[in-house]
């Protein structure tokens, strides 16, 4: 009986590992400034988000960058709502699109869920004026594993 239990637990673990999925990566048009992707497990009609990944770099443009916000969104009763938001990540000045960073914690979400990202960029002029702009919103839909981007440039909420 004990052995059977252990085997069942192992089988369940294998199923969990096997169902881990990563969304298609989304990057800016030049693959210069940012990329994002999400890792999740499907769990009987809902999704366990395990990693909200991002990375980025600068070259000739911004002085530094950060994630502006990352949102978990879900559709409840036909309406989209924000489930959770992480805002104003740490600032980075690295030039290479090097390591992936992970944000947030594991969260179990309903079937129609997606994760959206927006990155912020800060640049000063030689005259001392400084401007802050944002990336497109990148969007990772978990129910069909499709990724997209829209609303380039504006720091929308």
């Amino acid at each position: 009986m004990l052995i059977l239990g252990i085997v069942l637990i192992l089988l369940l673990a294998v199923v969990q590992i096997a169902s881990a999925t990563t969304t298609p990566q989304v990057c800016d048009d030049d693959v210069k400034y940012w990329c994002s992707k999400v890792t999740y497990n499907s769990q009987s009609g809902s999704w366990l988000i395990t990693d909200r990944y991002y990375k980025g770099g600068i070259d000739g443009g911004a002085d530094w960058w950060q994630y502006y916000w990352i949102k978990d969104m879900h559709k409840i009763n036909g309406n989209w709502a924000v489930a959770e938001t992480w805002s104003y990540g740490p600032t980075h000045t690295n030039i290479l699109l090097s390591s992936w960073y992970s944000v947030g914690a594991d969260r179990l979400r309903v079937y129609m869920s997606m994760v959206q990202y927006k990155f912020g960029y800060y640049e000063c002029s030689m005259g001392g004026e400084c401007g802050y702009w944002c990336s497109a919103t990148s969007q990772h839909q978990l129910w069909n594993n499709v990724s997209a981007k829209f609303s380039d440039g504006i720091c929308t909420g």
Binding site: P24, Q25, C27, D29, D30, V31, K32, C35, K55, G57, D59, G60, G61, A62, Q66, Y68, M73, N79, W80, A81, V82, Y88, I95, L96, L97, S98, G120, Y121, Y122, E123, C124, S125, M126, G127, E129, C130, G131, Y132, W133, Q139, A148, K149, F150, S151, D152, G153, I154, C155, T156, G157
Partner: protein, 218 residues
């Protein structure tokens, strides 16, 4: 302290002051820009621009009153229909915007640092001066109030970027070999307002921004 010591000290002091003046002077001389980098105040204007990338096209309208008052409306989007009708406006203190999915108006009051929100990387008066100086851009043509500026950047290529380009149906880069991005910007010389931006990487066009309408209101 005798007279001889005083003389030596005075000469030494003069020598070091002289060296200091020379060094500071040389630094100032090497920092002299090749181009006029004066940041020109933008007038009020309305602009419609189209952005075409490898996989999508969208159009937007910018209504610019001054650096503290502007609004952007997204007019078309070939891949995310929900984005059409999205807008954002800035009043110098906060950005209000329409969330295309929730239908709610969100307000961002907090600026992450000193400065102002700008509508896009290329939509602020410092863009042209910064690209001339910080990106070591060159003006390759100037006539009839329109100038053409070009600058080159070297973008990295690792396995992730290689795989991403392949996933997107683009020509994958060679891991470990920098990609060469050339940007060509046409702009009005009276206000330094960009009119078109074309970016190519290793000779292939990746993004084209075209201002299709520009009406100066001032």
């Amino acid at each position: 302290m005798n007279k001889r010591t005083l003389t030596i000290l005075s000469i030494s002091l003069l020598f070091f002051v002289g060296i200091g003046i020379l060094v500071v002077g040389k630094r100032k001389a090497t920092a002299t820009p090749l181009y006029d980098i004066t940041i020109k105040e933008w007038p009020s204007f309305e602009m419609i621009y189209e952005v075409t990338t490898i996989d999508k096209t969208y159009t937007a309208k910018l209504t610019y009153k001054d650096s503290l008052h502007w609004r952007v409306d997204f007019l078309t989007d070939s891949t995310v229909p929900e984005a059409v009708g999205t807008w954002a406006e800035y009043d110098g203190k906060e950005i209000r915007s329409l969330d295309p999915f929730t239908g709610e108006i969100t307000v961002n009051r907090e600026m992450p640092s000193d400065g102002v929100y700008i509508p896009n990387e290329w939509l602020w008066p410092a863009y042209i001066p910064n690209r001339l100086i910080k990106s070591k851009g060159e003006i390759i043509n100037e006539s009839n109030g329109i100038a053409t500026l070009t600058f080159t950047e070297y973008l990295s290529c690792d396995q992730d970027i290689h795989d991403y380009l392949q996933q997107e149906g683009q020509k994958p880069c060679t891991v470990g070999v920098d990609r060469v991005e050339v940007t060509v910007v046409k702009y009005r010389t009276d206000y330094d307002i960009p009119l078109s931006i074309v970016e190519t990487i290793d000779g292939e066009e990746v993004r084209r921004i075209t201002v299709t309408e520009l009406t100066i209101l001032d």
